[in-house]
């Protein structure tokens, strides 16, 4: 998360916006954002329809090691201006890969 916050000025330069989504409630998310000095929006999706829509939510085995049966997988998704998903990566975000991908998108957009 702090990696996205570090790169915020580059995302903005590339006309990209970042949102964080989790199943945490608003109070927890607010505390979390403060603890990491985050300034971009965090969405509280407790139901979690959004995680399901983007394939990040699972309620099937394998469950988390603590036995949690429903969880949000860590997933980075890039959506273009038309709402089309262009990039998906699970686990730890690869920031250099994300930035390089956003640059390519912006170059393509400028070249249209």
């Amino acid at each position: 998360m702090d990696g996205h916050q570090r790169n915020l000025y580059l995302y903005e330069a590339l006309n990209a916006r970042v949102l964080g989504v989790s199943m945490d409630d608003v109070t927890t998310s607010t505390y979390f954002a403060k603890s990491l000095w985050l300034t971009f929006p965090l969405l509280s999706n407790t139901l979690p329809w959004m995680g399901t829509a983007y394939g990040a939510f699972s309620n099937k085995p394998p469950f988390l090691t603590d036995g949690t049966p429903q969880w949000f997988g860590r997933r980075t998704v890039i959506v273009d201006k038309k709402g089309i998903v262009r990039y998906i990566r699970n686990d730890t975000p690869k920031f250099e890969e994300i930035l390089t991908f956003l640059l390519k998108l912006e170059e393509e957009f400028k070249g249209r």
Binding site: V21, S22, Y54, G73, D80, Y87, T92, F95, L103, K104
Partner: protein, 214 residues
């Protein structure tokens, strides 16, 4: 070392809304991997063709293959009871996000040694110049009586362009152990001699963005 934030947010989905189209493509090569660390005839070492520095003799090389908490560093197991050892690392993306040195130092120290259960206290903090760049050097100490261990650390946060990079040494001892000065001397030599042999990813990336923006 800094510790990665653990929370349910670690399992969040991310969306980046952008304008543009996808262009894919990548290339692979069949080259054999080079040794990560190569000695030079100047008494220095070169790490992955990217950095040159005076390396500590007899220390083990540490590498982070997962792209996590640091890029590389060195480790030495020392005489004495567990956990008598010293580790120092180079981290191009230290914890925190602010590009102001003072604020970043505050952010960084709030999580330093966080997962180890050691409450690290800042003993000294000074503004310095490192290779012509503004930097902050921080001395920290802390202990965890429950695990019978204590730690002493020295951290450099360096402003390099729009990025803040870091070097950190942590020396671990049992509670009744004595800290040694030699690892700190090796660390200082490493930091003071450290040179970038090529532009960083962020330096190159910012140039590309600037060019794109005209």
């Amino acid at each position: 070392m800094k510790r990665r934030t653990i929370s349910r947010w670690g399992m969040g989905a991310f969306l980046l809304a952008v304008a543009g189209l996808f262009v894919g493509g990548c290339a692979t090569t069949g080259e054999k991997p080079k040794p990560a660390l190569v000695a030079t005839d100047k008494g220095t070492a070169i790490y992955e063709d990217k950095y040159e520095f005076k390396a500590p003799l007899g220390w083990k090389l540490l590498r982070d293959y997962s792209g996590g908490d640091f890029e590389f560093g060195f480790l030495k197991f020392e005489k004495g009871d567990f956990p008598s050892q010293s580790t120092f690392i180079y981290d191009p993306e230290p914890f925190g996000s602010d590009r102001d040195l003072e604020t970043r130092a505050k952010q960084y120290c709030s999580r330093f040694l966080w997962n180890s259960g050691v409450l690290a206290e800042v003993k000294k903090q000074n503004r310095v110049q490192l290779w012509g760049h503004a930097a902050i050097v921080i001395q920290l100490e802390g202990e965890n009586p429950n695990r019978n261990e204590k730690a002493k650390s020295l951290v450099y946060l360096v402003k390099k362009g729009n990025q803040i990079i870091s070097f950190a040494l942590t020396q671990w001892r049992p509670m009744n152990g004595t800290f040694a000065s030699e690892p700190f001397e090796h660390f200082e030599t490493f930091v003071q001699s450290f040179k970038f042999l090529k532009k960083t990813f962020y330096e190159e990336f910012e140039e590309k963005v600037k060019k794109l923006k005209g």
